[in-house]
Amino acid sequence: MSNSKSEELSSDIKYTLPEEDWMDVPVRMKKGMYCHGANENSLITVGFPNPRQWSSSETNWKLPENWQDIVLTGMAERLEKYRSFHIFMDICVRCGACADKCHFFLGTGDPKNMPVLRAELLRSIYRREFTTAGKLFGKFAGARELNEEVLREWWYYFFQCTECRRCSVFCPYGIDTAEITMIARELLNLLGLNIEWIAGPVANCYMKGNHLGLEPHTITSSVEFLTDEIEELTGIKIEPTFNRKGAEILFVTPSGDLFADPGTYTCMGYLMLFHELGLDYTWSTYASEGGNFGSFTSNEMGKRLNSKIYAEAKRLGVKWILGGECGHMWRVLNQYMDTWNGPADFLEVPVSPITGTVFENASSTKMVHISEFTADLLKHDRLEIAPSRNDHYKVTYHDSCNTSRGMGLLEEPRYIIKKVCNNFFEMPEHTIREKTFCCGSGSGLNASENMEMRLRGGFPRANAVKYVKNKYDVDMLACICAIDRAALTTIMDYWVPGVRVIGVTELLANAMKMKGENNRQTDLRGDPLLGAEGGDAEEESEDV
């Protein structure tokens, strides 16, 4: 896509505000800014309430008659179940610190995308129904009635939040819009108001083990396809195992990695790394999804999907679990899995069989991040690395929202990148690490019918990439997230053409010399290596 096209969207971003009070501005659902409603069958598969055929673009959403009761009862229940929700409804002072932190606000200029107003959409109803001041003083106290207009507003704006938590970093009270969006989506889900891009993968994952709905034989053949590619590149034949009992490690990664590039290159990276190490590990076709779209509908559905990982680890008798590169997957694994489906007392505290390092920080969940695992290998010099094999790239690194703000995995991937490539450039300080900007497509919003919303949401990220592209000629955006790999590719094509997206493990595999490999002429995706003809480009690796 041309640059003139990218000006189409950026030129109408204005941070000017309407004259009317936000409560008096009716929601205008703009095509391209929202997703299709969930199919009846997707909801029936998992037993979600109020399944029906409905269309988000029509005015009649065929709501159940007592929908207000359902919402208010649901709110009351969740106020008791979640202190976060209860407190965040009460204590916001509207200081405005969060206002310009949201990528959707920065990309649309729509004031209801300011985190504070997104929360007020729900808070206004909370005040009216659950507080004395709201009951007595109504609008003066920021309260309003729950009606269908409000419900549409909720649906539009809570599926225009990626639960990225950037606002919560700056909030003086730690108010986390992700929590509020999660609760709002649970309430919408009670009315059957999900989006198909989430509900479909949830149903797939429940029945088939992964979001894409890959059946067991498709998983093995997808992996075989990748091992063929690897053989072509390196001359090494890799034969991974599936559902193998007695393996030491179960490996779980997002199914997206098996499906489309550039995720498939990252997946080839995993296969090559584990082969090179001689790791005693297995894939599972039952627990074939690291990600968890269930967590974008309700806490309970998140738990139901997540349960497969421990169940499979137990059935196969592995010692511990290794997880691939994914953002929200790691929010779930770090902050929810053990609570939901633990204790994993049938597993052992993870120990790297290569270095002997005990992963103390995962001693209860027994699940280790691939970047932790790899950083430890590199620290102990257990891999032969030729960073010059990434010399044809100028790389920057995008922290994914969840691994940074829901975990704090900031240094490990950077350590790997710096070890395996020579040209690494950071984006500006206010756009990385805990202040990283979302890809704009997270939390189940990476559909195609909402493309304008995604492009707008990706604008702040793209802007920072453009900065390093102009300054350092950066042409590769590294990340550790499957949704990033798919979504940022589209975002880059639109906003910063010429920049591609790469998984950290792909970078590693490019640079990793395997025992008995051919003289590689290209990298994993077929790009010719610099100085590949002579084959001596690899000599420089000595001093790293």
Binding site: S6, K14, I87, D90, L117, S364, E372
Partner: protein
């Protein structure tokens, strides 16, 4: 309207005090009964609210991690922004409560529209004004304790002498009073003039600020211009504190206005956003350690859920699995 109404509200509060004291001579009501009632409302309201929050469960360990996690000894971790145990959480919370650390990292983003370029810069105004406001408010309230106790503890003398370091005549000029007035005014002005902040502000965001500004103004008037006799004030306030309240002297209208404004603030507090003062301490994204892979967090309402078991899965796909060479449980 959003600003006018709260403004009229504060004027109304002043008028009530004026009518009640000056015209109806209800000094006992405004000097003793209302302050007691307000204080009781404040205490009971805050305690009940906190108890209500406390009854809500904390099902998950959800700190917002704003720094490097604890992983390997050779990776430098961020103890304050990504605490891994309770001690570090105390450090994070202390910095949050006393120095507004999250707000300190605030940025401001602007769009260069002609180039389509976003610029993000550090922004410390809100942090600075907020910090000045809260700290001077605290010191001023603390200073007021000398009105309630007799004899006055030495720590109060110390605060008093520090606060009055810039002695500019008699009575001693307290710099905290001026900073409080200045910072509260700034916070109000930014609410009115920064378009985004004005847009998100509710009437009940303007009201407490205006109320506090009125309290400070009436206090300054009383101290520096209308000169209420402090000895007589102390008769009443020590009496209030020792639960033997008496009104012995004519204290002047301005004193009653000040006292009534404070009473309104106290009574308003538990029903408003001012509860952020207590809420911040309970905020799960700030007061929990990021150790949920190391220590299992227990959800008190965790319940069994319906899952799709491996056995059901194998039943669905057994033939396909066997064909693909994947081991199965039942042949």
């Amino acid at each position: 309207m959003k600003i006018l109404l709260p403004f009229l509200g504060v004027i109304g509060v002043v008028m009530v005090a004026f009518v009640g004291v000056e015209l109806l001579n209800l000094r006992y009501l405004f000097g003793i009964i209302i302050p007691y009632a307000a204080f009781i409302t404040f205490m009971a309201g805050v305690i009940l609210h906190v108890l209500k929050w406390g009854r809500s469960a904390v099902p998950f360990c959800i700190p917002t991690t704003s720094g490097q996690q604890k992983s390997f000894p050779w990776v430098k971790r961020d103890r304050l922004d990504n605490p891994s145990d309770n001690l570090e959480v105390i450090g994070r919370m202390a910095l949050e409560v006393f120095l507004f650390r999250s707000l300190f990292s605030n940025t401001s983003s602007s769009l260069k529209e002609d180039e389509g370029r976003l610029i993000h810069g550090s922004s410390k105004w809100l942090w600075g004004a907020g910090l000045a406001f809260h700290w001077t408010f605290f010191i001023v309230v603390f200073r007021h304790l000398r009105l309630f106790v007799d004899p006055i503890p030495s720590v109060l003398y110390l605060v008093d002498s520090l606060d009055g370091l810039m002695q500019l005549g008699v009575p001693v000029l307290y710099w905290t009073g001026l900073i409080l007035l200045g910072s509260a005014t700034y916070l109000f002005i930014r609410r009115v003039f920064i378009p985004q902040v004005r847009y998100i502000s509710l009437p009940n965001d303007h009201f407490p600020l205006l109320l506090i500004i009125a309290i400070v103004l009436s206090g300054l008037l009383m101290r520096y211009f209308l000169k209420v006799d402090i000895i007589y004030v102390k008769d009443l306030t020590v009496g209030l504190f020792s639960l033997k309240p008496v009104i012995t002297h004519n204290l002047g209208l301005i004193f009653y206005i000040h006292l009534f404004l404070v009473s309104v603030l106290l009574a308003y507090f538990p029903f408003s956003k001012l509860m952020h003062a207590a809420g911040v301490l309970l905020s799960p994204t700030r007061n929990m350690p990021n150790n949920s892979r190391r220590v299992r967090h227990i959800n008190p309402w965790n319940y069994p859920v319906k899952v799709h078991t491996y056995e059901e899965y194998e039943d669905d796909f057994r033939d396909k699995m066997k064909k693909a060479g994947i081991p199965v449980e039942k042949e």
